[in-house]
Symmetry: C2
Subunit: 348 residues, 2 copies
């Protein structure tokens, strides 16, 4: 049995759910993989906590459910910063689940840099650091460093939660040449477009989706296509092996989708979805864009259910590979972070 110490940055829904899951399946991890996970450090918006012999995960979960801070623990530091925790903690793993900041990726970006430089494996749910600095972070990790000692960098949960977008591209198509990728990975726009297809205007559909509670406080991330674009940037860097930033993509949101396009798609048995698309060009580079796209009735992603996401890969030796995932809330992202962590452990 091997014990692995981890620190977690970010204790919103995703971070808290990760702790709940790790705690509740200690038996499974032990029996299947001979792994024990010990939380030694944690950081939320009000402070941090650290103890080399381990923190009380159950107590932290209770605190977070009560909307309180880990700073209240005996080992807590009110106002303690996440970057200090990353700099000082002795742990094998960083779990990075802080809110996505696409302006400068901070503090997540500095935290991941720090952790990797210190030799900690990094498992990310957050997208910011990868969207803004994929190549730099990859070079600090096993993804890009020549050194056999380089720590691992994994982020399967950042590109569609439990949907194995990255893993299928990396592992199942490892010997293949990918010619095309289509992904539908934003649940909010799926709902809004479906409401619009039923005849509502964009504004009315957005208002209804907001009432359903499925829209971010700032809806533009979803409806302007940036969430889908972020995921496509990460996938392009990681799976398509093309250095990519947001400015390399053409991005069109759903605001301008016409009733004419929606009705035509519907009548033909298909639908309009916000699709992230990568297409290999003759010179080998991939053209990347995000746009509302009419999917024909027989398109593999034309029947995704509410909350369901999907990806289609076309490659030279594996034909057409499709995956879809229907998850219930943040737990899909937890499943992804856990699989990343297990994969790193089993690799070494």
């Amino acid at each position: 049995m091997q014990t692995y110490r981890f620190i977690i940055i970010g204790l919103g829904n995703i971070g808290r759910n990760f702790l709940e899951t790790v705690l509740s399946r200690a038996d499974l991890l032990r029996q299947r993989y001979g792994i024990a996970l010990q939380l030694v450090g944690a950081s939320d918006s009000a402070g941090s906590a650290y103890h080399p012999q381990g923190l009380d995960m159950a107590r932290i979960i209770a605190l977070k459910r009560a909307r309180r801070s880990v700073a209240e623990l005996p080992q807590g530091r009110p106002g303690g910063s996440s970057i200090e925790l990353a700099q000082q903690a002795k742990a094998e793993f960083l779990i990075e689940a802080s809110p996505t900041n696409l302006k400068d990726g901070q503090p997540g970006l500095d935290i991941v840099r720090t952790a990797l430089r210190r030799g900690m494996h990094a498992v990310l749910a957050s997208k910011g650091p990868l969207v803004l600095a994929y190549q730099e972070l990859a070079a600090l990790s096993d993804l890009g460093s020549e050194s056999r000692q380089a720590p691992c960098l994994r982020f399967s949960g950042a590109v569609g939660g439990a949907l194995p977008t990255i893993n299928i591209g990396w592992r199942d198509l490892s010997g293949a040449r990918i010619s095309r990728v289509e992904m539908v990975v934003n649940g909010t726009t799926q709902v809004i477009l479906q409401l619009m297809a039923q005849g509502q205007s964009f504004d009315a559909a957005l208002a209804e989706a907001q009432q359903m509670g499925i829209v971010e406080p700032d809806p533009s991330l979803d409806v302007e296509g940036w969430d889908a674009a972020n995921k496509l940037v990460i996938l392009a860097n990681a799976v398509l092996r093309q250095a990519t930033t947001l400015s390399d993509l053409s991005v069109t949101g759903i605001r301008g989708v016409s009733q004419k396009q929606l009705q035509a798609a519907w009548t033909a048995g298909g639908r309009v979805s916000l699709v992230g698309l990568a297409e290999a060009q003759p010179d080998g580079a991939y053209r990347l864009n995000v746009a509302p796209t009419t999917l024909a009735a027989d398109h593999p992603l034309a029947r995704l259910g509410l909350g369901e996401m999907g990806i289609v890969y076309q490659s030279d030796i594996a034909g057409r590979t499709v995956a879809t995932s229907l998850e219930d809330g943040p737990i899909g992202t937890t499943a992804a972070m856990l699989r990343d962590l297990i994969e790193i452990v089993m690799r070494r």
Copy 2:
């Protein structure tokens, strides 16, 4: 750059296609993974060939296309046995692509035993050895041995070709508890059932499928459900971690499917498919069966195209994960064997 030596047993469509693919993408393997693959031994139905400095893959491909034998090579041994090759060759990898023999799994079973005992990694396209002796073979490999030196045993291509049945179960659901698996992994019965749904009798549909050239010389493997059952046995052992042999399954073929059932499914917008099913029981064990099953219109596998296969996993933390694969002939199995080989190399 690292060179890995391999031997290949079986040079029918799958084995030959594997060599063609390995040869044609030497550049990709070198650039992406720093790997060079060197064929040192090969065996077909008429003999074998071996040379520690490598055999001429292009020449072997030409011989096989002309329906001739590797025994004709300068280093060839007419009548040379595959088991001798496995016993004597110095190589890192065994590629096992011999025809499936479900009676006693031979010679594949002895070949895989020999290779693993000699420390060779084994990548299987064939099902026989795994269906008949999974637990024994796993114990000789990294899947079941305590030893860090144990060679790897991989077989993702034996359970649906390029469809990542095993890999999603092992890797993407590694921290999850799987409650249910449904798979449609036999193309022949898909076609026959579709013809029957159009009003043909089983016998007429079988005859038409045979004319299409998509039925084995002995159709019973497909139509009696044994091909699907074999794949379910392997998946149950590997992913569900339940020691399983064919006798643990309830298996019903498609011969007795009634026009009434077919029409009812069709009218409701669904279909009848031969489904391999695993369901977790209260005691934790999985009940396993193969049977023609009515899929409702909204079932994720109700719209598979001709030649398309699929799998649905239900698990506690990843929700519903679906994968489908539309492949063009044996090359999907080649893609699977290649990804297995790459995975073994990248792991070590």
